[in-house]
């Protein structure tokens, strides 16, 4: 049994090695640079609540939308072997719907917020279905299919609120975007945890994981085993739609307003990157949601680290690119194989040495 466990760990670590090592390196680097970088303080925020604060908290908090989108993107990637580049635009639509409903209510209570969120969810799922049909039924390359919504999404978001950038003021929205009174952990972080648990439950109570991987690895065999791959692909886009609505709503709640031009701008590429850093094959197949979540945190930690080093915001992207090149190259099959060979040689040499040593003694 123990043997099985270690084997399982080795198999699991294979995929998660790169993101975990990346996080570890970033942590060590930051600790050397500034030993106090990760210290967590307790302070009173503007609303008078006791909350946790510090770089670590802002990293984990700031990566929330990215992490949630990465979870959904992982499903689309695994099933379709391609990526959805419209998530940022779709989140702007979902966020606009969210605000539109809130604004239409006389007073914003819990029910209104839930209603607004549900409607945002439905709208995002419909757009997901649109993308999904293009990909699963019409067999269009995911990137091309989602290019449509990527192009027009923010215009649609603009129309929803008549071109305005309305603000919403409500303690509930404030609580979603920052802290729930009495809980020192940022609410978006809690939402990530909830989403993670939901995915875990989804995989536990359905066989979606097995079916998605089968469709992604060998569509032809999956079909001959009775799997409806069109449905599985469509479903992955609908699930991503839910993630889009959640991230869009968080984004809106953070600012208390919807800006259709800037909400989650450029997040699609970071999302895809998070999936890739998480060790998932962008060509589809086997996947680990956990890897993508860690990938999201790697990206955010990198960004915050660069800002902490006083890199100007215009330069940050270039530095980020350098680190990402390194990560992607290290994670590439070629390097992995070379490394594997090197390791097995090292182990062999060590064995030889120990055998020799034993003989000599």
């Amino acid at each position: 049994m123990k043997k099985n466990n270690t084997k399982f760990l080795a198999g699991g670590l294979g995929q998660l090695t790169i993101p975990l090592v990346a996080i570890a390196l970033l942590v060590i680097f930051n600790l050397i640079r500034d030993p106090g970088f990760f210290s967590i303080g307790i302070m009173h925020n503007n609303a008078g609540n006791i909350v946790l604060a510090g770089n670590l908290i802002s990293i984990i908090n700031g990566a929330s939308e990215l992490a949630i989108l990465a979870m959904g993107m992982t499903m689309v990637t695994a099933a379709c072997g391609g990526q959805d580049i419209s998530v940022g635009a779709a989140a702007a639509i979902a966020g606009s719907v969210f605000v539109k409903v809130l604004k239409s209510a006389d007073s914003i209570g819990g029910g209104t917020v839930i209603g607004a969120f549900l409607l945002a969810c439905i709208v995002a799922m419909l757009f997901g279905t649109f993308n999904g049909i293009l990909v699963a039924v019409f067999k269009i390359q995911p990137m091309i299919a989602t290019l449509i919504l990527y192009t027009c999404g923010r215009s649609i978001a603009y129309w929803i609120n008549g071109g305005a950038t309305p603000t919403v003021e409500s303690p509930i929205i404030n609580a979603i975007g920052s802290f729930i009174p009495g809980i020192p952990i940022p609410t978006p972080v809690l939402i990530v945890v909830v989403m993670g648990i939901l995915f875990k439950l989804l995989f536990h109570f359905t066989s979606l994981e097995l079916f998605t991987q089968s469709v992604g690895i060998n569509g032809s065999a999956a079909r001959l085993n009775g799997i409806n791959s069109t449905f599985i692909k469509l479903l992955s886009f609908i699930i991503l739609g839910v993630c889009v609505a959640v991230s869009g709503s968080i984004g809106v709640s953070r600012l208390g307003l919807i800006n259709h031009e800037t909400l989650l701008l450029d997040i699609e590429m970071d999302t895809i990157l998070a999936v890739a850093i998480g060790g998932n094959n962008l060509g589809g197949g086997k996947f680990k949601i956990g890897g993508s979540i860690i990938g999201a945190y790697v990206i955010q930690m990198l960004t915050i680290t660069l800002y902490a080093m006083k890199v100007s915001s215009t330069d940050v992207k270039a530095y980020k690119a350098i680190v990402i090149i390194l990560l992607v190259v290290i994670g590439s099959p070629v390097v992995k194989e070379k490394f594997g060979k090197f390791m097995s040689k090292m182990l062999e040499n060590r064995k030889k040495v120990s055998v020799k040593g034993a003989e000599e003694s």
Binding site: F8, G226, I227
Partner: protein, 499 residues
């Protein structure tokens, strides 16, 4: 007799974690000979070939070509030293022309003189008698010609040693003969050919010498004419042959009493012409015919693997509608597809996941098989079918062909089908496993499962089936049973010469 030694491999050793894949294997290839390399799956054939072509580095032993010791560092290196391989799966580019395929990757520079290459290619093609033109798109040629182009490419690279790894597995008889003519031609030109195949008849037809491996060790090297076929099989599987013949030799089982399980009339699909077919409970029948005769297409129509376009189907007398695989599965039909890699295994998933797949699909999305249940199922079938795998969590893609096939069999057995369709379940797998699968088919039939069995080896079908449906040009042209079940009659019916 040319006895000049071309290639000598001595005491080759290759170790994988936990396995000694090659244990001091010797292999000698002489100039101008066709040398068959035989053995069951896992005997070490492919490992030996991969050592020779530089895919693997050997852990011990030496290789010499024409008397000089060489070391082979990579496939490129092997090619430079005159050792070329043509693999089972054609590794050329179908969307390029024949000439481009022959010269790809070894052009002088960025400026390719197409005319020169085409001229050179045409020369080689005529020289070798290959029926293709250099300007033809490779994808438009038959598989056999593609295979031959791959060989032509190898030959033009001044190869002394040509390795053909299962070159005939997707060719029909006529194409095989074309290939054999080419092999004999090359042999006459002094090329040493290593021929790896599972088809015993072909070994006897074309090879001069046979080397047999078993469990990573050398069994021996024999002159083909001095080694009877039965003995070869015995050496390969290391068992006495009685077992082979013990296999329920054409029991004249009549199934007139048992109920008709499946009945199709005028069934057709996008790929299959309308046909009538029925099978009784506990019956084993076969579809035979040449490649392209429509045998696979017909069974695919039964399973709903291609789009069904017409006809009616009854199961146990009740009309049912089967238009897609899931319908067939829900009606108790299982289908092991012809192309294991493309339509069977989910390579990167574990043995466990592959085994439970079909049952899980039947259970549906919302009734997942629990981890512990799945593990129990996997362990059970690994044991029952004697699947050789490191563990149930091993990715199925890393198993040998025969064991992959057993995993897919396990997948269907787990669904407890009433009717199991096996399309070429024994293709490209070793003799021992073939036998196990044949036995399994008979055992299933005894338990009341109906089986349709397709194999390109007629002998195998004669051993297992009590009724053979013969197809030609996409139509059923005959049905053989009882006394008519013999090789001659089958051949006659296939060929169209009604006796």
């Amino acid at each position: 007799m040319q006895e000049e030694v071309l290639l000598q491999m001595r005491h080759i050793e290759k170790r994988f974690p936990g396995v000694l894949a090659l244990n001091g294997v010797d292999f000698t290839l002489r100039k101008g000979e066709i040398h068959a390399l035989m053995g069951e799956n896992g005997a070490g054939k492919s490992t030996l070939i991969k050592v020779l072509t530089g895919v693997y580095q050997m852990d011990g032993g030496e290789i010499s070509v024409e008397g000089t010791n060489i070391s082979i560092r990579s496939p490129q290196d092997a090619q430079n030293k005159g050792i070329s391989t043509v693999y089972q799966e054609i590794t050329l580019c179908p969307n390029l022309t024949v000439a481009e395929n022959m010269f790809i990757g070894r052009e002088g520079g960025a400026w390719v003189k197409h005319k020169d290459y085409e001229k050179r290619a045409d020369e080689i093609l005529t020289h070798l008698g290959i029926p293709a033109r250099s300007t033809q798109q490779l994808g438009n040629c038959s598989l056999a010609v593609q295979q031959m182009v791959a060989i032509a490419r190898a030959v033009d690279m001044n190869c002394k040693v040509l390795i053909l790894d299962e070159p005939t597995s997707s060719l029909d008889d006529k194409e095989v003969n074309m290939l054999f003519d080419l092999m004999r031609d090359l042999k006459a030109k002094g090329v040493g050919i290593i021929f790896v195949t599972h088809f015993l008849e072909q070994v006897y037809e074309v090879s001069d010498r046979i080397t047999v491996l078993r469990n990573g060790e050398l069994v021996g090297e024999y002159l083909t004419e001095e080694l009877p076929q039965v003995e070869l099989v015995a050496k390969m599987i290391g068992k006495e042959l009685d077992e082979l013949s013990n296999l329920g030799d054409t029991e004249e089982k009549e199934h007139k009493d048992s109920e008709v399980l499946y009945e199709a009339s005028n069934l057709s699909s996008t790929d299959a012409m309308p046909f009538d077919f029925s099978i009784r409970k506990g019956e084993v029948n076969g579809f035979t015919g040449l490649l392209g005769s429509g045998r696979s297409e017909s069974v695919r129509a039964i399973f709903g693997a291609d789009k069904v376009t017409g006809g009616s189907v009854k199961i146990k007398g009740k009309p049912v509608k089967i238009t897609k695989p899931i319908d067939a599965m829900k009606n108790g039909i299982g289908y092991l597809a012809e192309d294991r890699k493309r339509d069977g295994i989910i390579a990167e998933l574990s043995v466990r996941e592959n085994i439970i797949l079909a049952l899980q699909v039947m259970n549906g999305l919302f009734k997942p098989i629990s981890r512990s249940e799945a593990e129990a199922f996997a362990d059970e079938y690994i044991k029952v079918l004697n699947i050789k795998t490191a563990s149930r969590e091993t990715p199925v893609g890393s198993l040998s062909g025969g064991n992959q096939q057993k995993v897919i069999l396990a997948r269907w057995l787990l669904t407890h089908p009433d009717y199991l369709i096996l399309d070429e379940p024994t293709r490209g797998i070793d003799v021992g496993t073939k036998l196990e699968i044949q036995k399994l088919v008979l055992k299933l039939a005894e338990e009341g499962v109906s089986v349709t069995f397709i194999s390109s080896e007629v002998e195998e079908m004669l051993r297992t089936c009590s009724r053979l449906i013969v197809m030609r040009d996409r139509h059923i042209v005959g049905e053989l049973k009882g006394a008519d079940l013999n090789q001659t009659q089958v051949m006659k019916t296939i060929a169209g010469g009604e006796a």
